[in-house]
């Protein structure tokens, strides 16, 4: 919550407001303001004026944001959040590019993610793996978030429509619907999903929060949790938590429809297709036909070599302990 209050101070946000207004995605922003209004009464963002008929038969014109506050029942706000999360952001197709040549296993992405999503230390929406394909090939660090497949095996097997794919490509889970069968965990070839085996780590302090599927907070015991591509941040025009936390410029995030991705560290925006083409980008286990929305750039010309002490763990998976 404290983070929300800080936001207006940030310069980048104002810059962004200006741009977005012009590009004509004002509606998206108004949407985000409404949610913010529901969640945090302190927020004062101007929205459209609407006419409301009161119980006393008085016709009033009020700010739209104030109107949504009337929905003071948690259930109403919840269904609004659930609906909004399923609709996604119009016209977008989010993509992430992970440059393996820059990853130094700093793990700032992992901690930022766990902070944002209120996860336990062993729960990873994004996990930096020490990888090695075979004995003589190079070991490398690989950050692995949910791949947000366009042909998602996890969504296919969900019996209750708790996990779903949105029009903008993000695969989300609604933990108010999830029955905890864990079929999606079994179906995911990327081991991207985690389960709340016990009460969530911040259950006590989160108990009055309205559930937001775009952030998947509060987490709920007995339900599955997963990387959300920081759908809540995308709605605000900000880069995902992991992307902005990286100190090494590993992540690019953006909209495939705009053919542009922005680096989380340098905030430099480049053309997505050219980046992939110039660096021979690839997708993880593309032979499975999952059509992922995460692209990898190969670990070539690395700025820092793979650490010697990490080699045994990297080799474990291929049954090679590098002895």
């Amino acid at each position: 919550m404290s983070e929300q209050e800080e936001k207006p101070k940030e310069k980048t946000r104002r810059d962004f407001l200006k741009q977005v207004g012009i590009v004509g995605i004002g509606s998206v922003l108004a949407g985000s303001a409404i949610i913010a209004g529901i969640n945090y009464d302190k927020r004062k963002t101007k929205g459209a004026r609407i006419k409301v008929l009161t119980a006393e038969n008085e016709l009033l014109e009020i700010d739209r944001n104030d109107a949504t506050k009337v929905g003071k029942f948690k259930a109403e706000n919840l269904s609004y959040m659930q609906k909004q999360a399923r609709e996604g952001i119009k016209g977008k197709r989010w993509v992430m590019v992970i440059d393996l040549s820059k990853c130094k296993n700093a793990r700032k992405c992992m901690s930022a993610c766990q902070d944002a999503h209120h996860l336990r230390p062993e729960q990873h929406h994004i996990n930096v793996l020490k990888m090695q394909e075979s004995t003589n090939t190079a070991p490398y660090y690989m950050a692995k978030p949910c791949q947000h497949c366009d042909n998602p095996p996890c969504v296919a097997v969900c019996p209750v429509d708790a996990t779903y794919k949105r029009p903008d490509g993000i695969v989300l889970i609604d933990n108010e619907v999830c029955i905890g069968c864990r079929f999606c965990i079994a179906a995911c070839p990327y081991s991207a999903r985690v389960f709340n085996w016990t009460d969530p780590i911040r259950a006590e302090e989160d108990k009055d929060l309205v559930y937001n599927p775009e952030l998947n907070v509060p987490q709920k015991k007995g339900t599955v949790s997963k990387c959300c591509f920081s759908a809540d941040r995308c709605r605000e025009g900000k880069l995902p938590y992991c992307v902005s936390a990286c100190p090494n410029g590993v992540y690019y995030f953006g909209d495939e429809n705009e053919d542009a991705v922005t680096n989380g560290t340098t905030k430099e925006t480049v053309r997505f297709r050219k980046l992939i083409e110039d660096n021979a980008g690839y997708r993880l286990m593309s032979e499975l036909g999952t059509d992922t929305r995460v692209y990898y750039l190969p670990p070539k010309n690395r700025t820092q070599p793979f650490k010697e002490e990490d080699k045994p763990e990297a080799g474990e998976h291929i049954g090679n302990n590098n002895a």
Binding site: K11, K18, Q19, I22, V23, G24, I25, G91, K92, R93, D150, N151, P152, P153, V155, A156, D161, Y164, K165, R166, P167, D168, G169, G237, K238, L239, P247, N248, G249, F253, G254, D255, N257, E258, D259, A260, V261, T262, T265, T266, K267, E268, T269, V270, R271, T303, Q304
Partner: protein, 302 residues
């Protein structure tokens, strides 16, 4: 007291960094001469140094450590220097500014993450560790930036974007010669630079090659941002919306029927197979239950 402390620290830092400077000489920054001469338009004082320290703590300290303490991140190679060292202090303000703008190896660039003002303030903070430093102020007068107008002109036949930069002085229009110009297109998370950074010619004009394949909105609108940086007029930014992009209206990713889609968009073959199996089995079960009633009825009649 405080001053003495700093002097001691600087002395220690000098000894330590002098030792490393020989090694690091090979990795000197190669800064173009025109960048080298750039100066801050902000007057460095205690206030700017103080706000510079805040920026430093957030963005630089994790690698460079506390200035003067030589406690930077030792695991990096090359090791980030202590910024109070002679190695750093020898550089001109323009060079430091350039380093912040471009980054190298493990050091990221800050040209998009920090405002120009903040970048200068960090330099002001770094300079506060150098007693011998005397600031040379730039000729820039930021208040004059309001006078500058950037005209954008797109030639669809050649795909060239022409910018002319003129300052409307009281004495009459003045063209900005040799000013640095950058052209961007607004994207959702940031600005995408078009072509290269160039300088205006003697008539205050700059021409960029504009890509033909840049996706715009559903009718091809693009928000173009031009950024001019001039010695005298400072930084000027101008925005305009032009219909010069490729119209892009891609369908939603969940529009098609698919096995992973919601129930309403399930493939027909699954809907038909599932429903008919359930209906057939249900029908037979109803038939059997009817038979049971028949058996009961026959018995009751007799």
């Amino acid at each position: 007291m405080f001053r003495k402390n700093i002097i001691i620290k600087i002395t220690i830092a000098f000894i330590i960094t002098a030792f490393f400077s020989l090694q690091l000489n090979a990795q000197r920054w190669d800064v173009p001469s025109n960048k080298k001469a750039k100066n801050s338009y902000i007057k460095f004082d205690n206030n700017t140094a103080k706000s510079g320290e805040e920026v430093y703590t957030k963005n630089c300290k994790s690698c460079h450590g506390d200035v003067g303490k030589a406690n930077g991140n030792k695991t990096l190679n090359p090791q980030p220097p202590d910024l109070s060292s002679t190695l750093t202090q020898e550089l001109t303000d323009g060079e430091l500014f350039y380093i912040l703008n471009t980054g190298r190896n493990a050091m990221p660039n800050f040209k998009n993450t920090l405002s120009e003002e903040d970048r200068w303030k960090v330099i002001s903070y770094i300079r506060s560790f150098n007693k011998k430093y005397v600031q040379v102020l730039s000729k820039t007068d930021p208040s004059k930036s309001k006078l500058v107008k950037i005209n954008m002109n797109f030639n669809a036949a050649t795909n060239k974007m022409n910018l002319s930069v003129v300052a409307n002085e009281a004495s009459g229009p003045v063209v900005l010669k040799d000013a640095e110009v950058m052209l961007f297109v607004s994207r959702y998370f940031g600005k995408l630079q078009i072509d290269k950074t160039i300088r205006t010619d003697k008539d205050g004009n700059a021409t960029f090659n504009f890509p033909k394949d840049l996706p715009g909105d559903s009718i091809g609108n693009l928000t173009i941002v031009a950024k001019v940086s001039d010695e005298i007029y400072g930084e000027i930014e101008s925005q305009t919306k032009l219909t010069i992009g490729v119209p892009t209206d891609k369908p939603s990713l969940t529009a098609k029927r698919a096995i992973w889609n919601v129930l309403k968009l399930a493939p027909w073959w699954i809907i038909i197979t599932y429903t008919s199996i359930v209906l057939i089995v249900g029908l037979f079960l109803v038939l059997i239950v009817r038979n049971l009633f028949r058996i009961s009825k026959i018995g009751a009649q007799q």
